[in-house]
Amino acid sequence: MPAIEVKDLVKKFKDALAVNGISFTVETGGCFGLLGPNGAGKTTTINILATLLKPTSGYAAVAGFDVTKYRNEVRSNIGIVFQEPALDSKLTGKENLEFHAMMYGIDPATRNRRIANLLDLVELTEKANVLVQNYSGGMKRRLEIARGLIHKPKVLFLDEPTLGLDSQTRRLIWEYVKKLNKENDVTIILTTHYMEEADYLCDRIAIIDRGKIVALDTPGNLKAALGANASLEDVFIKYTGKTIRNIEEREKIW
């Protein structure tokens, strides 16, 4: 049974066709990348898979559960790092993590151990007891990633996880995600505009533009299709006709 199955998925908003009939499957333990320009429909797809949005039509299942019919079952199998801030700024960093761990029913001993480890990983141990409203953008992002990793879900969604982070922290996060994927068999769906990131972490990549998947293959095959020295960046330009734009604009959120 695949970890994720998506068939002819469509999501219409009042004034936009955000997802226009996409299909893909992700095997258990895989790392699947969704690569696409701003507004391509990546976040919408993830929100549907995470049960936050109802699809207009089509089918999607996570861990074998239909996302529209078995929302609670889906939720207990997933973790998600949102693209946009989703922290409680009136709580401390540590309290945000504790809230999460308790909502997911992690026992106190495990909770404390994991929180300590993760705070260490994202280098926030010293700021653990500071209210999140006093965090910088990068600190919030790091905290958010730590939170998504606490409960070791079967399927982990990472929506532009390292957006706005310095390259050193990005590397650390990559290593942790890779370890989670390889050693703990956590299936990962990642959206990103960092080619390097998709290339390094993902075993399959879908290039998505205007709600449609325009290419889907391993990073190696995608690159090979364009010649020996092609980068994913080149692949991206070939299929969507554009570089990944508006990055600066999006980084302003953080």
Binding site: N47, A50, N72, L87, K90, M102
Partner: protein
């Protein structure tokens, strides 16, 4: 078990945040205190139609203002789900493996506790502003009165947090917030008999008062604290419970349907 723990965690979060919000605590007591000061002293000694002569107006006012404070605090805390939405935290709550009903109940429990704390604080303060129990009250009657007061306060809280949550579940953002304050909260307050007996209202308007959940709760608070009321105490209690159950069910229904992104 998982569901109960989720309710507890959401409740705890509200309490932690409340204990940190000094301005909110003071701010929400300022208005009822001013009402008691200005209205209470302004009209003390005046003979208002519909109020028994032996009761000083300040004393008549205290249960009403406690009701008002509970109404405002509760509505705000119900609507505060919109702030969670604005700051994105609602998504974090909504993807947790917990039923929407428990999430709604956790919020209601948290809001009810904090507004209850404020209501009790206001009750204590009212003794410095001219409130006292009727001399004829025995100690037992006083204890019973306070217990009944807490029950009615809790029912007001449940009812109006749930109403706030119902509104919030049907709104995309906080844009309609002032509309709700002006066209829901203030009418509920003025039509509840909190500051003057509803018997002084024109008959047509009075019908609205009879439909207002707060009317019965305020009447019940008066019965508990002053031993005087329009309706029998049991009638007030039953209606307050019915309204609370209805509103909480409605809130759970709307919250279940709402989209969080």
């Amino acid at each position: 078990m998982v569901e109960l723990r989720a309710i507890y965690v959401l409740w705890l979060r509200d309490l932690i945040k409340f204990s940190r919000a000094r301005e909110r605590q003071i701010g929400s007591l300022a208005m009822p205190i001013m009402f008691l000061l200005f209205l209470g002293f302004g009209f003390s000694g005046a003979n208002l139609p519909g109020i028994a002569h032996k009761v000083d107006y300040v004393k008549y006012l205290v249960p009403g203002i406690i009701g008002m404070n509970m109404l405002f605090g509760s509505m705000f805390s119900g609507i505060s789900v919109l702030w969670d939405k604005e700051f994105g935290f609602l998504k974090e709550i909504m993807v947790a493996p917990v039923s929407r009903i428990s999430i709604a109940l956790g919020r209601i429990a948290g809001g009810a506790t904090t507004s209850l704390v404020q209501g009790l604080l206001l009750f204590v303060i009212s003794f410095f502003l001219g409130f006292s129990f009727v001399p004829a009250f025995s100690p037992l009657r006083i204890v019973l009165g306070v217990v009944l007061m807490v029950v009615f306060m809790a029912l007001i809280s449940l009812t109006f947090i749930a109403l706030g949550l119902s509104f919030a579940s049907n709104m995309r953002d906080a844009e309609g917030f002032e509309l709700i304050i002006n066209f829901v909260m203030f009418p509920l307050f003025f039509l509840s008999g909190a500051i003057a007996p509803i018997t002084t209202l024109p008959p047509l308007v009075r019908i609205l008062s009879y439909l207002n959940p707060l009317t019965y709760a305020v009447d019940g608070l008066r019965a508990a604290l002053l031993g005087l009321s329009m309706f029998p105490l049991l009638f007030d209690l039953v209606l307050a419970v019915v309204f609370a159950v209805f509103m909480v069910s409605l809130a759970a229904f709307f919250f279940e349907r709402s989209e969080s992104v």
